[in-house]
Symmetry: C2
Subunit: 317 residues, 2 copies
């Protein structure tokens, strides 16, 4: 949708002091998939609402998402985001903290631009989501150093960090269309499961995607020993020599990054981790579609969300 891109034009004047707003304009104009605002608008449309009215909260969730990336990049010491230097690298940590805080306020400003009847519901959903995203990021950081992380732990973490925001988007769309609360809850569950599938697809692409399509180096998660689904599943399934090699590659320093990536990719393939991941993704998609099916509106209206769901789990970027 062009309207979404147009909401974040390059060079847009956001306010003074310039030193505060420059990093915000830089972040917001870089693009990205704009998946979250798209989900708000499509959900609103599906429920027969006016997408123009849903545009401000749609922009709000996108600003919120970008705020979390900005602060996450400080915490993860990430040098690049969408191919550009991260804010804390290009400016400094203080600028990244404060510009992020300001984006958080801006997110609320946009989210609040709804009619007063819808405001309480929209805010309850948004507040709950924002809190959970923070909790998810905390677990994500803790898992880096935690010796034992189970698949259950991992699911809980990505549910909080990623899935609930996707769920929030479609629910806010439903609220903006004055959908029945039961339907709004079903579309929330749809979004939550879709969000799980989305994150698992992201893990898969990080290990097996194509750099030219994915937009970043393949194997980043492998190099940093990130405890993704693939990593955890591999440890669950590996035994004997394979487990020994996996441990050596992960805890040792014998090989360089490229070698580490290609050897762990090989182990993943030998254990059919890619297939397992795709199976779990399909399961989450099925669960998402189950909830979409519960929504009591004409089938034809559900077409765009169905289509987008499939695109999300088959995406290569």
């Amino acid at each position: 949708m062009n309207e979404i891109q147009e909401a974040f034009p390059k060079g847009k004047f956001l306010g003074v002091p310039q030193e505060l707003y420059d990093p915000i304009e830089y972040t917001l104009s870089q693009g990205g998939k704009r998946l979250r605002p798209l989900l708000v608008l499509l959900s609103c449309e599906m429920f027969g609402g006016n997408p123009d009215e849903a545009m401000p909260p749609a922009v709000g969730v996108e600003i919120f998402h970008n705020f979390t990336l900005l602060h996450d990049d400080i915490m993860d010491a990430a040098p690049l985001r969408r191919g550009f230097p991260t804010v804390y690298k290009k400016w400094d940590t203080n600028v990244a903290i404060l510009s992020g805080d300001t984006m958080f306020v801006m997110a609320y400003e946009y989210v609040c631009r709804v009619t007063s009847e819808k405001l309480p519901d929209v805010l309850a959903t948004f507040n709950d989501t924002a809190r959970k995203v923070c909790e998810g990021q905390q677990y994500d950081m803790e898992f880096e150093t935690k010796p034992v992380v189970t698949l259950e732990d991992y699911y809980m973490m990505i549910r909080l960090k990623t899935a609930v925001l996707i769920a929030c988007c479609v629910k806010v769309g439903a609220i903006m269309a004055s959908a029945d609360p039961v339907d709004a809850e079903h579309i929330y569950k749809f979004g939550e499961n879709l969000g799980m599938a989305f994150q698992l697809q992201d893990d898969l692409l990080d290990a097996f995607g194509e750099t030219s399509k994915f937009g970043k180096e393949i194997g980043g998660d492998i190099v940093t020993n990130k405890k993704t689904f693939l990593h955890l599943k591999a440890f669950e399934l590996a035994g004997g020599d394979t487990l020994d090699e996996l441990n050596r590659l992960i805890h040792g320093n014998e090989v360089d990054s490229d070698e580490k990536v290609s050897r762990i990719q090989e182990i993943y393939r030998s254990l059919k981790i890619d297939t397992h991941t795709r199976e779990i993704i399909e399961e989450y998609l099925k669960e998402a579609i189950f909830y979409l099916d519960q929504v009591r509106i004409k089938e034809s209206r559900k077409r765009s969300l169905r289509k987008l769901s499939k695109e999300i789990i088959h995406r290569e970027s």
Copy 2:
């Protein structure tokens, strides 16, 4: 008011993961003056509202205030706050960033706990304030390295960073009491001017207070060359040898911190900076009272805010 202190008890369970919420409990249970929530409640009471209803947004602004302190302490590399190690020192920067973000969400959660009729007004006031506080902090940071900062610049900065939050508190109290919008605007201006006086009194105490009462080392601003009202006024008034000495003390490294503080205090006294500061504080208080006088309610109802205003500018801690 005991109710305010009781809202932040030591050891209160705030949620999981514990590693995220421990620093929040640590921060919120440390106390402080609780001036901001008190102002919300007193203003609400003054306008004939029910302070119990104003308690959630009162707690919200206090959490917001503490969130800004938590992030400011990272940016200012401050080791102590209220006599305790700051969160980023006791834990680390990442914890301080994320716990702060979570407090920001919690602040919104409390601020949103008002009736749906009052929600839009309360949020409009709070959003506007939060944005300005961020802008004020940015100016504050920039002034550290900016070669020329005028008194006008300084007033603008403290207005954004400190005064608008005080203004927000009394306005939210007014909204919670369904005050007339014109009165709400007058009480906002009262708060804004009181906030200016409050910050200038803080500057004065930092240079001339008593450690035992103020709760922190006197002269902190002097040691770090912070461009407070006193600093800027001294440069405005100093000439000849005094100006030379001031420049040597500020830009040189000839003397230790204690010596620097006592010699600059002496210069301040010789230039009557303390008297000038008190005059400006009195002017802002007069302006604040002017706006309180405009509020169209019984004089007897205004007594507590009048009393608190005087206490604020005569406080020693």
